[in-house]
């Protein structure tokens, strides 16, 4: 089974550099791991013509627990979230960011494929950013993974997601679905390349985004992993030029 073939420090699964807070709507790997990690990330909007720019830098702590060989529980805590808005009057904020708690259960599988059910909740822990509103989000969906070759994984994820704002103001309920399709190619034992086609619908507009995700993932020994990942929206309402993560993981 492919999960056992990819067991060292090299990261797995779709590109996770998130376009949404807490990576709402993003798919997770289907192979459970017990790990901890640190992920610095940057999300950037640069629109000089609108006198608008946004640089969002995050430092995210991740942790996951392989409860069984099919079930992973995980958490993502943005320990530092620094948001810089560049406009005629520029502003910035720094503080803790959002917290995501999720699970992935590889419920059905064959010799070279698997179907996992995944989901997470995103909690409003960015206290110094959201002064009054308290955005809460959740997603739940499925991911299908097929390994046509030992070094190649093809994944497809469909992740419906919802969110609203608690906190006494307008609720702003939003719902949509993300559809990602991609492949991971393990070119070397401890290096893989991932290319995803990413898309999202209905959450902020008919087409939230359509674009690509790319990742370069390496393993350092049996336990450590280092990945550079990016999502680049090419169409849709999403204004970001890119979201980029650098992931350091230690797998137990």
């Amino acid at each position: 089974m492919f999960c056992t073939e990819w067991t060292d420090g090299v990261a797995q699964g779709p590109v996770e550099a998130g376009l949404a807070d807490g990576d709402l709507g993003g798919a997770h790997r289907v192979c459970p791991m017990t790990s901890v990690g640190l992920t610095p990330g940057v999300y950037a909007i640069i629109e000089p013509e609108n006198l608008y720019g946004r640089i969002l830098a995050t430092g995210t702590l991740t942790g996951s627990w392989a409860a069984t060989d099919k079930l992973e529980l995980y958490a993502r805590l943005e320990g530092v979230r620094m948001d810089m808005l560049i406009s005629a009057i520029s502003t910035s904020a720094i503080g803790p960011g959002y917290t995501a708690l999720g699970a992935s259960w590889r419920g059905v599988e064959g010799a070279s494929w698997a179907l996992a059910v995944q989901g997470k909740v995103v909690l409003p822990t960015a206290f110094l950013h959201d002064e009054h509103g308290a955005p809460v989000g959740a997603d739940a969906g499925v991911q299908f993974v097929w390994a046509p070759k030992d070094v190649l994984l093809v994944h497809a994820a469909l992740m419906p997601n919802v969110g609203f704002a608690a906190g006494g103001g307008p609720l702003y309920p939003r719902g949509g679905v993300n559809l990602d399709l991609g492949a991971e190619w393990r070119a070397f034992k401890r290096f893989s390349f991932v290319l995803d086609g990413i898309s999202g619908f209905g959450r902020t507009d008919t087409l939230d985004h359509a674009g690509v995700g790319v990742g370069f993932r390496g393993g350092i020994g049996e336990h450590a992993g280092l990945a550079l990942e990016s999502r680049v929206p090419l169409a849709g309402r999403e204004r970001a030029l890119t979201a980029v993560d650098i992931r350091f993981d230690w797998r137990f």
Binding site: I45, P48, E49, L51, R54, L56, D83, L85, I86, S87, A88, I89, S90, T91, S92, A93, P124, A126, F127, H129, D130, E131, H132, G133, A134, P135, F164, A165, A166, G167, G168, G169, P170, Y172, R203, T204, R237, R239
Partner: protein, 959 residues
Amino acid sequence: MLTLLSLLGCDGPACLEGDTSCLMPSPCQEIAYTCEGGSTEAYWIGPDDTPPGGMDTLAATGDLVLANDRIVAVIEALDHPHYIAPTGGGILDLGIRGKDNDSLRQVFQATGLLPEEGFHYTSMELLEEGDIRAVQLLGTLDGYPDVPVATRYEIRPCEPGLRIRTEIANGTPDALSMYLTDAFYWGSREIIPFTPRAGSGFTHPSFGLSDIGDAFFDVPFMVGGLHSDPAASYGVVACSEESLNGFQSDNVSAMGPRPRVFPSRDWDVYERFIFAADGASISGAADLAWELREQLWGEAWATVSGVVEAPGGVLGENLRASLLLVDENDVPVTHVLPADDGTWSARVPANRSYTIHAEAFGREVSTATVKVGAGDADAGTLTLPAVGEVSIDVLIDGASDYAVVNVIPADDATAAATEGTVFGFFNACAPMLGLTHGGSPSCNRVIVNGPTTIALPAGNYDFYTSRGPFSTLGAARGVAVEAITGQSVTLEVTSLDLQPAGTLTGDFHVHGGASFDSNMPDEERVKAFVASGLEVVVTTEHDVVNDYAAAIDALGVADRFTLLAGTEATGHLLFRYRSDYGFPQVVGHWMFWPVAYDPTAPWRGAAYDEKAEPGLLMTRQEDVGWDKAGGVVQLNHPYGGAAFGRDYSWATAMGIDQTLPLDREGSSASQGLYFHKPEGARYSNDAYDVQEVMNGTLNENLIQYRSFWHYLLNQGIVRGGTANSDSHSLVENVLGTPRNVVFTDTTRADFDAAAFNADVRAGHVMGTNGPVLVASIGTNTPSVASFAPAEGDVLHVEVSAAPWVPVTEVRVIVNGTTHTYTELAEPADPFGMDTLERLGLDIPLADLLPAGAADAWIVVEAGTPLAEQADLDCNGLPDTGDNNGDGEIDWHDVEELTEDPGVDCYDVVGPLAEPPEPERDSPEWIFRTVTPGGYPMSFTNPFLLDRDGNGTWSGPGLP
């Protein structure tokens, strides 16, 4: 904690979810005022209602009055937006009940500086809750329909202001940079803001759009005051925040919570109290601010009082004496104008020591200290330096009459001892006799009409006046003014036979207190009209119309000049109209006259002038009654700078490259905008009649204005040229300097406005600030109409001028090439009456015109030599002078360059050079005594020579 409270639903927004029946809660619950007989009222202004008065009042039929027993406020109707606000819903007027002293331009809400960040209100509802009256406005940000906003203005009995609550939520998917603020649009030259912050008070850092972040400071409150009566002062304290944050200038103050990242789906509520107090300066409002701070935040205050003595001078008149109180931490806390009897009092934070800085005539003259405990304190008596008095009379042709007298230090010691400012604002004056931009006395100028007494610091002074350029220069020089004692000065002015027969003089660009950037009371302005000797005055208030009828009647001077009311369309709201430029802009300033004054209309008869290209401005103005065929539309100061990103000038905004021809197809890119016809317009942008060639007494941008004029002429695009003062006060530009001499058959006695305007449109105009220039070719005179020259025709030029006007050269400009003639007579005595005729010249056209039969144009100028300028950015427009005086114009002359950029065409250029500063008592210096900063200059309109005789004039083409 706030988030936790919010999660429990405490104090959340009430009106951000599209429910128009929502009701926002009453703001500022911690504030309480009581009184006997308090009352409130609220009503929509009807056509028969008399709106609150004051120099800045703009209330119109359809606006809403919120009033109580203390104040009267006007909230503009939604379809009556003013200035920078995209819709109505702002505070337009605010005054003390019964005082008619509205001094407020506008307060509106925004979340930033960009046009899309203004509040766009879509509903406005009047609420009555017991004796509370309120208006609730709902809408969105102008450029963000997914950002709902709501504001409640509330008035209660006994209270000196409005309670205000604003709610906002970010319904967009993106984080926004939000500065939730009240923008106090002062307009410039009017209210000066004051903040109690260490080292601040009236002193605020200057800033531009690129460094505005450095100008934000936390302050407990902001107050601002007009400094001339009838005046009110204003202030704001936050109820929902312990301090306010923002920036200050004489254009705009912005006060609100600190700017912050506004994440998607976050919301905010801001409550504050905006208040008004009677009287000049800011102590009235500051007293209220300290009182409110005690109610809101428990900060104790005490009253400190005292007496000021000023031997030889009466107190209480604007700058004559004032007191700035600064605490032990260098925090200015208030500023007081003593009463006429010298008494004063002010509230200050308790339990501090204060230094009292006494100012007089714009200078600090003494200090004292006072320790204030928990109770009231007596600061004792402060004695200011003694001053003298001078009685000034001006005799015009032997009789006392209105005149503007310039008071100039006669020696360097007096200049150094008397130079002052209005609390650090505006330009310095020596002596500083009164507010720089107020009524007389103002800066170093005073309007007299018969013997008029002014107070003056001791020193030696010269006094100068004239009745415009066609009179002698009245002067009294070296007058020694001593403290306590009095002096009398009489200036005699004689009219000179200089004005050409069959002409009327006119100034087509004049502002008064109705303009957002003028603090000149109507009567003072009318006195200046008379003093200028102008025969026709076109009043052109920014965005509005004023006919000065009440002031003219009050002074009984209706027979002294003819007034044509107009308006200067002045863009405030940035919008995107230029397809080859990435940023929103405005379209500069455009003049329309005559426009009927309507005291009940939102812009007093003018059309709404925002977000419109010139062609659409003309259409809108026509829609409200302006006669396009019989009136005049004038392009004002074609090139210039910008204020807060708002271009003053159309040619600058278009970004025209004068090395390239205009695109006659009229695209929306820079070379095409000139001919562009905007959507919804009946006219294209080029459908104006005349352009300013001279603007302002200093005449600093003449070179660029005439460059644009000549650029158009070269392409066969003919518009008449005009010369206007653009005067806003007694100080920055002298009314009627420069002026137009209009060759017309109509007369003052039987004035025909249509005929006069027709002659203006036809270019039957000579512009001048002194030299009189009459030119002809055969029977042809300058005009926008062409003619075929006859064989052997000569250009005949006659130059005359008052003896105090130096004229050293005549320039004949043919298709942009200049021929200079310098054999002019020089008067021996600038204060005399001789040598008016300076030059008579006949120049064969054959000596001027290029070979061939191509059409040509000729413009004649007279004056002193112009400073050399160069075009360093290769767009054909002169932009930089020999500013370092090394005889070469290069990168060393560019203010912003510190090293050679190493390219042929620079990215940054300027400034233009001015003629050299004249030596004292030279002819040029004497000219400047009544033409501050200027140099003599006059010009004719063009002769258009249809040399090929085809009946049309097509221009010689670009060089």
